[in-house]
Point group: C2
Chain length 256, copies 2
């Protein structure tokens, strides 16, 4: 039997990136799609617990190569949880998320709905990969989808350790073509926030999130940001165990 | 000058846990509160980027011991970002979040709005601590607030390394009283999801998130779950660098 592959994203079921990804995955296995009905960028690992969610069967024409598609009224993590619990015909071999409109690199992974869908797959015991196109506002995901297929095929063949997923960022329009794949770590980075204050017609203030992204190690060559910059696909192994094991002993000396 | 302490949460500005925490913090420094105007549980590390946010000055009577309080139309991470950028009179020495209604332990940290507020503080370069009362539905946070004060005082005195925050869970109603503080790691655990399917009056299906939490290492003694069970305050050092450094070499052998 062909492997079943669950496909989700955070840009919503109508985004071009998920169509390209699902079509590429259909060359590797049977595909079921469960994606948010509306854009869910920057939702992080949110889940819906105070309201029910719905799953609207999506027109076959939108994804003619898929077994089934559902538009879910929830977050990316909801999509994966609901799909695995109630929508898929059998247990998937792989959960993929994307292809995101824009990079999910460095410190920004923690905000990413794309990554959260893949994280949820891993939390539920299924090998998972998040894919992002490292440039905003693109409509052609065909080259990125080819690289996604290559990474996904490798994961299907080799498997991943429990609790570990891959976060993949693919550069766009590299001169001379994408140069290959690099294994990377997240670059240390930070946001320098600057909220813009405006006033509504009643003269009440409101604030727009703005700010400047700062790569704190621009000279490093082994980071996700460096790989993309150099024209490589960046593959970062990540997990959801947040404990800093190396600090446990130090903290014990605090004498609480 | 007394240190400035920024206080946030995810249960909303009207929750009893934040009042108890803010009052305890006022014994250690000047307090500014910026908390969601509505409950934001399980939002994970969501931020608001597609809409503006507002900050409503909150009645002085609600927090008579604070310098200022704001109810923010956003997520816990928004509250901290906006406060640090536009609301605080000077740079805080500490960001605290909570006291949450219910535990934030094991795998659930990733869903936690309470933790995300503290994580955002750390991301923005300020020592931060998340506090949770490890039992749902309680109204008396006074004992938890005393322990929160003790931990916060220690952090103010010693400081934390860059990129590292503390996730603190406090047991409730321990027979004979809380026994002390233990340094812990997150317990390995998982959710066994079971979405309940129901039908609306138009016979359309909807799904409620349900399921069962499973501690995968119930015999361990060094986990957050074990500490709480044994009547100790659990202090776990966590971070937001998700890279699995130990797997980088293995991944390089994949021969991409």
């Amino acid at each position: 039997m062909r492997p079943l592959i669950l496909v989700s994203n955070d840009d919503g079921i109508a985004a071009p990136g998920i169509r390209a990804l699902a079509e590429a995955m259909a060359e590797l296995g049977d595909v079921v799609i469960a994606a948010p009905i509306t854009e869910q960028s920057a939702v992080g690992h949110a889940i819906t617990i105070r309201e029910p969610v719905r799953a609207h069967p999506w027109p076959k024409e939108a994804f003619p190569f898929a077994e089934a598609a559902y538009a879910v009224t929830g977050t990316p993590a909801d999509c994966v949880k609901l799909a695995l619990s109630a929508l898929v015909p059998r247990r998937p071999s792989l959960v993929v998320s994307g292809i995101n409109n824009g990079p999910n690199t460095a410190v920004n992974i923690i905000y990413s709905g794309t990554v959260s869908a893949a994280t949820e797959g891993t939390m539920l015991g299924i090998d998972s990969v998040a894919f992002s196109l490292a440039e905003f506002g693109q409509t052609d995901f065909s080259e990125a989808a080819r690289w996604a297929k290559r990474v996904a095929a490798e994961v299907l063949a080799r498997g991943l350790p429990p609790g570990l997923l891959l976060n993949v960022n693919i550069p766009h329009n590299v001169e001379g073509g994408i140069r290959g794949i690099q294994t990377t770590r997240q670059a240390r980075s930070r946001w320098e926030d600057e909220y813009q204050t405006r006033h509504d017609p009643q003269n009440q203030p409101y604030y727009w999130n703005g700010g400047r992204f700062v790569n704190l190690e621009a000279d490093a060559t082994d980071t996700d940001l460096a790989a993309i910059e150099a024209g490589y696909v960046s593959v970062t192994p990540i997990h959801y165990d947040l404990t800093v094991y190396t600090y446990l002993d130090e903290l014990k000396t605090w004498g609480f």
